[in-house]
Amino acid sequence: MGSMLGDWPSCDPHNFSKLRRADPSIPSRMMPATYHRTHSRTLPPPDQVITTEAKNILLRHIYRSAEEENDLRPKRAATKHLIPEHGCKQPRATSY
């Protein structure tokens, strides 16, 4: 007698046939067998730690769009020496 679920693959094809009873009104005390995984494709990395993101979603969006803008417009790095090489030169005053 096939299982109620048809011929789907399972660890042990007799699992579901053990549960199915001819008379559904009789309560069944059979516990289904525990599922055991047959592959390891979806295992999490062994060092994975799940925590809550400290920044809320609004700030995440703001930071992300700021980073995208920075990627589009790379800023010039400031020169290491703000004073010129020649000691006699003065920085020019600009009016703001």
Partner: protein, 514 residues
């Protein structure tokens, strides 16, 4: 969840059905469709005071005496009238029950403003710290206009000689701590210049262009955390002062030792005083972030709010724009500032579409509420309610750019300015937002009753808020304003009608579930 409208069958259904995950507050709120403040006591005899608001946990009604010198605190209670006759519904309330004292118990009055010091309580300002039941109230001397600028202060902004923030334990009215500002100005209208987030208080000083961050300790102390303005990091002042000697005698080798404030190309530094071209720390941060061509006007930090414990949203505007929220004439900038790294993370103009889209999607994250406050996390906004969203989208489709600027004009958000009452939940009731809303700002009074209509079928009228008896007022020409105070969870509301320009006492009505 509830298929029927009858309250008894809803209670039976509640016994059987579990609400969908995460919706228990909204499901419990549906009972407010059955419990509405449908009865009104008009022009109730009450003390002549200005009632400010119910605290967000519903424990206290805050009001100020008419002379603006005393804080008066009431406890909201309920009627204790009982009817022994058979057909009680037909009976109206007896006159002795129709009193202010039936609903409110006077707890205490505290004098905050001293008589001889000509200080007055700022009656538009009140903040509540729900975790400890502390209240923050401000008193100030009269504001002085046309003041010449001195030192770090800017011209054109009025100032007050003394502004005091009082931290009061509302349980018994004890003043726990005060914070005093001298010769300063903070815009306190409807809590605009001050923002409370958990235990952190941000105060935007317009005159000195500084944002003060204070912490409210459980012990009741107001502790200075930092002041952002002239200096961004705590040790900037120390660093600058220690280098003052070097800078006074121009020594070029010391120029690069100035703190993290970016030195503008070629700014000539001679004396380290504020009148020079050395801009204050926060403004240097802003100017180094934006390009020079965008704005030639100097912008000052005007309003501030917390986005979380590290990030501030600061509005930079011109002096006049900072004092009011009228965004039409003035360009303003909104910046997201990280207090820990002292960096400006992002910067927007007050008409930026990008910012508007963030505001439309994540409005609730701008209305930052303390995690201790359960009720404030469920206020209807266009980010959590489809009806509110449809409403603003329909307005936006008609006048897009003006609308966006107007909506962004409400940023930074004013702290604790929305009522958490379930009657303002847009999924439960539909009402005219021009006449009444969760915002506590007074609005023009109307003779017509304000209707609250059920959102769900059969979309019937549930209750009306009327400001006066049916006959209306004899003199239709006097301009009146109305304000509404809704209790956070009881079916109880006060409506206060005031006549402008006349010194008449205000008319107070009590709306309750009879």
């Amino acid at each position: 969840m509830f298929r029927r409208n009858n309250i008894a069958s809803r209670i039976f259904q509640r016994q059987i059905y579990t609400p969908a995950p995460g919706t228990s507050v909204y499901c419990a709120r549906r009972f407010y469709e059955n419990l509405v403040p449908s009865c009104t006591i008009y022009d109730v005899e009450c003390p002549d005071q200005s009632f400010r608001k119910f605290t967000d946990d519903g424990q206290y009604l805050i009001s100020f005496s008419r002379n603006q010198q005393d804080l008066v605190v009431y406890r909201p209670t309920w009627l204790s009238f009982s009817c022994k006759e058979e057909d009680c519904d037909a009976h109206d309330l007896p006159p002795k029950a129709k009193r202010f004292e039936s609903f409110f118990t006077h707890l205490y009055s505290v004098s905050l403003a001293s008589c001889n010091g000509n200080e007055l309580i700022c009656k538009d300002f009140f903040l509540y710290v729900e975790s400890n039941q502390y209240g923050i109230i401000a008193t100030s001397t009269p504001s002085i206009h046309d003041a010449a600028a001195n030192g770090a202060a800017i011209q054109g902004v009025p100032y007050v000689e003394k502004l005091t923030f009082h931290l009061i334990r509302l349980e018994d009215g004890v003043i726990l701590d005060v914070k005093v500002f001298h010769n300063d100005f903070v815009n306190l209208t409807h809590n605009m210049g001050v923002f409370l987030y958990d235990d952190l208080l941000a105060i935007a000083s317009l005159r000195n262009q500084t944002i003060h961050i204070l912490q409210i300790r459980d012990s009741g102390n107001l502790v200075d955390v930092r002041a952002i303005g002239a200096f961004c990091r705590e040790d900037d002042e120390l660093f600058l002062n220690s280098n003052a000697q070097c800078i006074a005698f121009p020594d070029k080798s010391k120029l690069h030792q100035l703190p993290g404030n970016n030195v503008q190309n070629g700014t000539h530094l001679s004396q380290p005083n504020q009148e020079d071209s050395l801009l204050s720390g926060i403004k240097q941060r802003l100017l180094s972030f934006i390009f020079q061509g965008i704005s030639n006007e100097e912008k000052d930090p005007a309003l501030v709010q917390f986005l979380d414990r590290q990030h501030l949203l600061i509005k930079f505007g011109s002096v006049d724009g900072g004092v009011s929220r009228n965004a039409d004439q003035h360009t303003a900038f909104l910046a997201v500032y990280n207090m820990e790294t002292t960096e400006i993370v992002a910067f927007y103009q007050n008409s930026a579409e990008e910012l508007y889209l963030l505001f439309e999607r994540f409005c609730d994250h701008f209305h930052t509420a303390s995690k201790n406050s359960v009720s404030m996390n469920f206020v209807s906004s266009h980010s959590n309610n489809i009806h509110a969203l449809e409403q603003i989208r329909s307005v936006k489709s008609k006048a897009s750019s003006q609308f966006m600027k107007k909506m962004l004009g409400s940023l930074p958000y004013s702290c604790q300015s929305l009522s958490p009452s379930p009657y303002f939940d847009q999924s439960l009731f539909r009402f005219d937002e021009k006449l009444i809303s969760a915002s506590d700002r007074p609005r023009q009074s109307t003779d017509h009753p304000i209707k609250f209509i059920l959102r769900r079928q059969p979309c019937s009228l549930k209750f009306k808020i009327k400001l006066g008896p049916e006959a209306g007022n004899a003199d239709g020409r006097t301009k009146k304003i109305a304000s509404f105070l809704f209790h956070p969870f009881l079916p109880l509301a006060l409506s206060i009608q005031q006549t402008l320009f006349l010194q008449q006492p205000s008319v107070v009505n009590i709306h309750f579930r009879g």
